[in-house]
């Protein structure tokens, strides 16, 4: 009996040491930060697959919502973020860059669309094509807000993100605020659930939303036309937006507003990680990593059918194209290819 006990203990210790041994032998250790929306998950999965199989790194992924993950990133606990919605957190992000906590690694998805959307059925029935079309009492009634009688509800961005304040200013400039509430859904998951739930029940939807997203492939939303994007106008609006963020909604001043700029999603790494010469190949690879929106949407489509199997999604993406071989040296690309 005693022998058996000893055997079990020693087996346990040997396995622990051998596990530690493998992690110490790995060429590098990378800690990635991931978010609670699907496009970030897919990017993180692809990058971690390449780092694991191509560079032989030990990859650890931590997933969470925007604020805690970005806070840990600025603090140096998470080395690389593969998808940053920079414009939504522009203030704190630029502050972290200025302080030298992180370095930006360029664009991840060249263009992403944000805007106001209406479900296709309602849009066709009432001929809703532009923001102007929405400003009728009888249209607002379709989207009635049960908590604010007499008004419609537009589910908006999450309060605390810049887009919430942008939407608020846009509502006032366009005059939408007389007909609709700018409703904060509280979290990304709640916004998705609200949209999906309305579609399941066949109810009209009026919401702020963005691409690339997996949900966009599942539901039929039509973007409403706004005044075309104009740089001068946008800059003027952003001054007011920043003022409101700092001093509260009373700081609103009359301004102009236009459609959202095509926003590029970016990547970033901690300065500590980027400056380590051993990590140079990894940083070079992440810098080159960039996937067009159409391909992201395709990967998201696969992710939806794969029951959330991220590794399968990453493999499918890597098998489907070969553009990624240019992001890394030939020998690394060969290793990744061999592992598929």
């Amino acid at each position: 009996m005693k022998f058996l006990k000893k055997l079990i203990f020693s087996a346990f210790f040997i396995s622990t040491f051998s596990l530690l041994g493998t992690s110490a032998n790995a060429a590098c250790k990378v800690h990635l930060g991931d978010f609670d929306w699907d496009s970030a998950n897919v990017h993180t999965a692809i990058v971690s697959y390449i780092l694991k199989n191509g560079y032989g790194c030990d990859v650890e992924v931590t997933k969470g919502s925007t604020t805690p993950i970005m806070a840990a990133h600025y603090d140096g606990q998470l080395d690389i973020i593969t998808e940053v919605w920079r414009d939504n957190i522009v203030q704190i992000h630029e502050e972290a860059v200025a302080k030298g906590q992180i370095v930006e690694l360029g664009v991840n998805t060249p263009s992403s669309t944000q805007g106001f959307y209406v479900d296709k059925a309602t849009s066709d029935k009432y001929n809703l094509k532009t923001v102007e079309d929405m400003m009728k009492p009888e249209i607002a009634k379709l989207f009635a807000d049960p908590e604010a009688p007499g008004k419609g509800r537009m589910t908006s961005c999450i309060s605390g993100w810049t887009c919430y304040t942008i939407n608020m200013v846009k509502h006032k400039v366009y005059g939408l605020d007389k007909f609709y509430t700018n409703f904060d859904p509280g979290s990304g998951g709640a916004l998705d659930a609200a949209i999906a739930g309305a579609f399941k029940k066949g109810k009209p939807v009026f919401t702020y939303y963005w691409t690339p997203t997996g949900l966009m492939g599942k539901v039929d939303l039509v973007q409403l036309k706004e005044p075309a994007y104009d740089n001068a106008c946008w800059t003027k609006m952003m001054v007011v937006v920043e003022d409101i963020k700092a001093n509260g909604p009373d700081a609103y001043k009359d301004t102009c507003a236009s459609a959202f700029v095509d926003m590029s999603l970016t990547k970033s790494a901690t300065t500590k990680f980027a400056n380590d010469p051993a990590n140079k190949p990894i940083i070079d690879f992440v810098k080159k990593y960039s996937v067009p929106t159409a391909e992201v949407n395709k990967a998201l489509g696969f992710y939806m059918t794969a029951d959330g199997d991220l590794e399968a999604t990453a493999k499918d993406f890597l098998q489907g194209s070969s553009a990624w071989t240019e992001w890394m040296p030939a020998d690394v690309a060969a290793k990744v290819k061999a592992s598929l």
Partner: protein
């Protein structure tokens, strides 16, 4: 004979687990399966890692069941939604419209009489109530919204929880059936029912009220059950000896004697409701919770803490009122024995 029965029981368990494994194997995706099922018995490499074909397909039926619920019983949930929302909005609007000194005066009056005219408790509660608005004028209306949601959630808990607790105490079978459900309600992560709540009821106050019910009703049910079972057997026997019917025993003896425990349950229920209403701000429920959320979204620790303090004050107010009311009850039903030396 008895032994044969237990063996039969084990046999049924065995058959069920084997058929479940067969079902999961058959419904697994082809790319996860070996080419022929006999391969499983030739090649044992699947014993290393959990094989992908050994995966009970629970997700798809749950999804389709949920869809079915939304499509077929949408009207039913709509009805619940409209009822609770009407209750909430009318309550909120009537309190928000009142001038704030009047609201504080009402809170003081309630506390004074609920606590059995205890000055100390009343002063503390009045101070906390004043401090809610004093912390930040923005908080006053939001605290009222939170209070309304908590009160409605609590009413729902009391209306359903206490009768269920009584039924549990009186019938062992009901208790055995309900205990696992209560365990489930207490341990399942709140987002598992918050997000489906949005699908059924839409964003806003109603999914929060439902979440409060799921999260806060178990302690009330458990404490009601416990309270009634703890009533002395002799007392019940005595009441039966006097010819009391079961109903009379329940209303005249068991419930009054269990009241301190039930009040403790209501107190716990309130505290848990308040905790849930803060989490519910993540599904678009307006209230003091969104101030915390906003502070955290902007990495503004001071703002989040300030709102957190407001929530603590709100909790103290609720706690002191229900607690002191419970103490008053206790004094009435179990007067302290005076010891004379």
């Amino acid at each position: 004979m008895k032994k044969y029965k237990t063996y039969l029981k084990y046999f049924i368990y065995f058959v069920i687990s084997v058929s479940v494994i067969i079902i999961s194997y058959r419904s697994a995706k082809p790319r996860y399966k070996p080419e022929h099922y006999t391969d499983i018995f030739k090649d044992f490499s699947w014993l290393n890692d959990w094989p992908k074909w050994l995966d009970f397909p629970l997700m798809q039926p749950l999804n389709s069941g949920f869809d079915w619920l939304i499509v077929n019983y949408g009207m039913f949930f709509e009805g619940i939604n409209n009822f609770l929302l009407g209750l909430y909005t009318s309550m909120r609007n009537s309190i928000v419209d009142l001038p704030w000194p009047l609201v504080i005066a009402i809170v003081i009056t309630i506390t004074y009489f609920a606590s059995g005219r205890k000055t100390q408790t009343t002063v503390l509660v009045a101070f906390c109530t004043f401090f809610l608005g004093f912390l930040s004028p923005r908080y006053w209306d939001k605290c009222i919204m939170t209070t309304c949601i908590v009160v409605i959630g609590m009413l729902l808990c009391i209306v359903i929880g206490i009768p269920v607790g009584i039924a549990m105490a009186r019938n062992k079978k009901v208790r055995n059936a309900l205990l696992p459900i209560l365990d489930l309600m207490q341990t399942i992560p709140s987002f598992c029912y918050l997000i489906p709540g949005i699908l059924l009821f839409g964003l806003g106050a109603v999914p929060a009220i439902i979440a409060i019910f799921v999260y806060a009703v178990p302690p009330l049910i458990r404490l009601t059950d416990l309270g009634i079972r703890l009533v002395d057997k002799e007392v019940i026997e005595a009441s039966e000896a006097f010819g009391a019917s079961k109903k009379q025993t329940l209303w005249g003896v068991q419930i009054p004697l269990a009241l301190p425990n039930i009040m403790q349950g209501i107190n716990q229920c309130t505290m848990m409701s308040l905790a849930m209403v803060v989490i519910a701000s993540m599904i678009g429920t307006r209230g003091i919770g969104d101030e915390v959320l906003l502070g955290l979204q902007q990495l503004n620790v001071g703002m989040a803490t300030e709102a957190g303090i407001a929530i603590v004050l709100l909790a103290i107010i609720f706690d002191r009122i229900t607690q002191s009311y419970g103490e008053k009850m206790q004094e009435r039903t179990q007067p302290k024995k005076k010891i004379n030396f």
